[in-house]
């Protein structure tokens, strides 16, 4: 596949022109210090992070978006189908499949891996038509990170920092505010065909240059190799660690709802007030840390203890789903759950604590 070299500004201008193909999304500043993965509009101010130390001005840094890019593929309050009655009094049900073209740009490796994992989940067994319809009409432009985005980052420890699969185009930061642009798929190749970027003859050399600039060690590191973390979490049954990390928990579900690999949903029906024979079914993001998550009709709660819900969340990320799919950790190390938790409960600390207790056992 071909590669190009051009300035960040040129790429941003190019992204603005892609909206004729479909909605383009890119991280954009929100509030005081946060980012929202939002639709690019005519006057949106887009920026790539400054990675090179040569810049004289205060470098522009961006943390992860509050909601990960992958959520654009399974949006909250997503319509599943709508219904109405025809003139013969029969119900007509139409599944809502979104097959509009869209471009997710500015996706970090951690979020890219998360999208790959959601592809696996939604293709597994009985495929989820609504996700796949969106996904198969989505182009992903991802970029490398040469510095951890914030102090919560541990993507290197979970094996996502060097993730490339799923990206159609991959950008690697270069000195002098430039970017190396590589097409990784046919779709990416087509998109770049008319972009008019300068071809790059020495792709590997450029990558080596970027690698030399990468912060080492990159972000937080577990106290053991990833496989040992997964093995330890897999073998952790009852443990005081679970209780310790819920002492301050509000059971508010934030850790689930910002996680790029949490995909649980609840379903709601509604009918239209002006025509009660018509309406729709939608689904919204749910979280296993919420108290009512495992409550069945009649009121029995299969997971009433907070510590059991915490264990369920952590084991899904670091034990059960890795074992089921063989694609490594389902925690991609983006750091969102620890960052967004107001009482600093962090899957990274929980994993390290489990490692520590496992070591002290005979």
């Amino acid at each position: 596949m071909r590669g190009f070299l051009t300035t960040r500004a040129t790429v941003l201008d190019w992204l603005h022109t892609l909206d004729q193909l479909g909605d383009v999304f890119f991280p954009q500043p929100m509030g005081e210090s946060s980012f929202r993965f939002d639709k690019v509009r005519k006057h949106s101010l887009l920026a790539f992070e400054d990675f090179d130390a040569t810049s004289t001005e205060k470098p522009f840094r961006a943390s992860t978006c509050v909601q990960p890019p992958g959520k654009k593929l399974s949006p909250n309050n997503e319509q599943i189908f709508h219904f109405s009655k025809n003139e013969n009094g029969e119900y007509q049900l139409t599944p809502t499949l979104d097959d509009r073209q869209r471009i997710l740009a500015g996706v970090r490796p951690c979020d890219l891996k998360a999208i790959h994992l959601m592809d696996r989940i939604n293709s597994d067994g009985i495929p989820d038509a609504h996700y796949l319809s969106r996904r198969q009409n989505t182009t992903i432009i991802a970029h490398d990170c040469l510095q951890p985005c914030d102090q919560h980052c541990f993507c290197d420890a979970t094996g996502s920092l060097r993730w490339r699969e799923g990206a159609d185009i991959f950008l690697t930061p270069q000195p002098e505010a430039k970017l190396l642009i590589e097409a990784l798929t046919e779709r990416g190749e087509q998109l770049l065909a008319d972009a008019g970027f300068t071809p790059c003859k020495n792709i590997e050399g450029r990558k080596t240059l970027a690698e030399a600039q990468r912060t080492k060690p990159f972000g937080r590191q577990f106290n053991a190799p990833l496989q040992q973390v997964i093995d330890t979490v897999s073998n952790s049954g009852e443990s005081p660690v679970w209780d310790k990390h819920v002492e301050r928990c509000f059971s508010c579900g934030t850790c689930n709802l910002v996680c790029p690999t949490c995909y649980c949903f609840d379903v709601q029906d509604d009918f239209n007030v002006d025509d009660p024979d018509s309406g729709q079914r939608t689904r919204s993001w749910d979280g296993c840390m919420l108290e009512a998550f495992a409550v069945v009709a009649g009121g029995h709660n299969f997971r009433p203890q907070l510590a059991a819900r915490q264990r369920h969340r952590i084991k899904r990320k670091l034990a059960w789903l890795p074992a089921r799919f063989g694609d490594g950790s389902f925690c991609v190390g983006c750091g969102r759950c620890g960052h967004q938790c107001t009482v600093d409960i962090d899957i990274f600390d929980i994993a390290n604590d489990l490692l520590a207790t496992a070591e002290t056992k005979p």
Binding site: R248, D266, F271, V343
Partner: protein, 260 residues
């Protein structure tokens, strides 16, 4: 026959009834589904019996409690409408004060002496306690918030009309706040009660750049000790924290130290 619904106001600002009148885009369609038989903000008709009674406001006097018991006896479903009815709202803050202390705060040092002797003041201020509706009669559903959320109101009406039952998720404001992808209030240095407050409002205040002050009341079983500790870490004194907790949630907040 269409279900008959009625609205009654107790001690309140009647803002919740106005919030419901604010459904004007769909209000005529609602009238296709139900008959509104009593609604002081919009109607003068009075009815003896009804299927759904919406009670707005807190119960401040025994005469209100008697009126409420009468309404309960005349309806099938009784719904607490808004923060005053659900947990007392701002007026229940007076529960933490003696009546004389309360008067003094509101009307100055002279007033408390007036109140002791002047019978004009007596009925209004001599109540022992501001009560939520469920402290007086059985309540079937709570529509929370100051004011209520119109979508929750519509959901309740539609569900009851359809022969189903309304479903209100028991989850904190954080859930909808995260659904909306907001920046956490704590992220920009302020403090928020979203973690411990009943959701269902679509996190409207945080969406608008403010914080959650808990107008929908405390979510049952929340980790209040942890929340208090968090607010302390963020520099709030216990007095500040009590003040925050009492702004809307007064009727539900237990005195400190009573939690096991």
């Amino acid at each position: 026959m269409k279900p008959r619904i009625a609205f009654f106001d107790m001690a309140s600002c009647e803002g919740c009834q106005l919030a419901i009148l604010d459904c004007e885009d769909v209000f005529l369609h609602i009238l296709d589904l139900v008959d509104i038989v009593e609604f002081r903000e919009a109607l003068s008709e009075k009815a003896p019996r009804f299927d759904v009674a919406f009670i707005e406001g807190s119960i401040n006097r025994e005469i209100d409690a008697e009126r409420l018991r009468d309404i309960r006896a005349r309806c099938t479903w009784l719904v607490s409408l808004g923060a005053c009815a659900c947990h007392g709202n701002v007026q229940a803050r007076s529960n933490a004060l003696s009546p004389a202390e309360n008067l003094q705060r509101v009307y100055g040092p002279e007033a408390c002496h007036v109140a002791q002797t002047d019978s004009q003041y007596w009925p209004l201020w001599a109540h022992t306690r501001v009560r939520a509706v469920h402290e007086v009669v059985k309540v079937d559903y709570h529509l929370r918030g100051c004011p209520v959320d119109r979508d929750e109101f519509l959901h309740l009406v539609k569900r009851l009309v359809a022969g189903s039952l309304p479903r209100f998720a028991r989850q904190p404001v954080c859930v909808e706040c995260k659904h909306n992808g907001n920046e956490c209030v704590f992220e920009h240095g302020d403090t928020c009660m979203g973690q411990i407050t009943w959701g269902g409002c679509d996190a409207i205040c945080i969406n608008g750049g403010y914080r959650c002050d808990g107008c929908r009341g405390l979510l049952p079983g929340v980790n209040l000790d942890s929340h208090r500790a968090l607010l302390r870490e963020r520099g709030l004194s216990d007095t500040d924290i009590d003040s925050r907790y009492r702004l809307f949630c007064s009727a539900d907040v237990q005195p400190r130290g009573t939690r096991p």
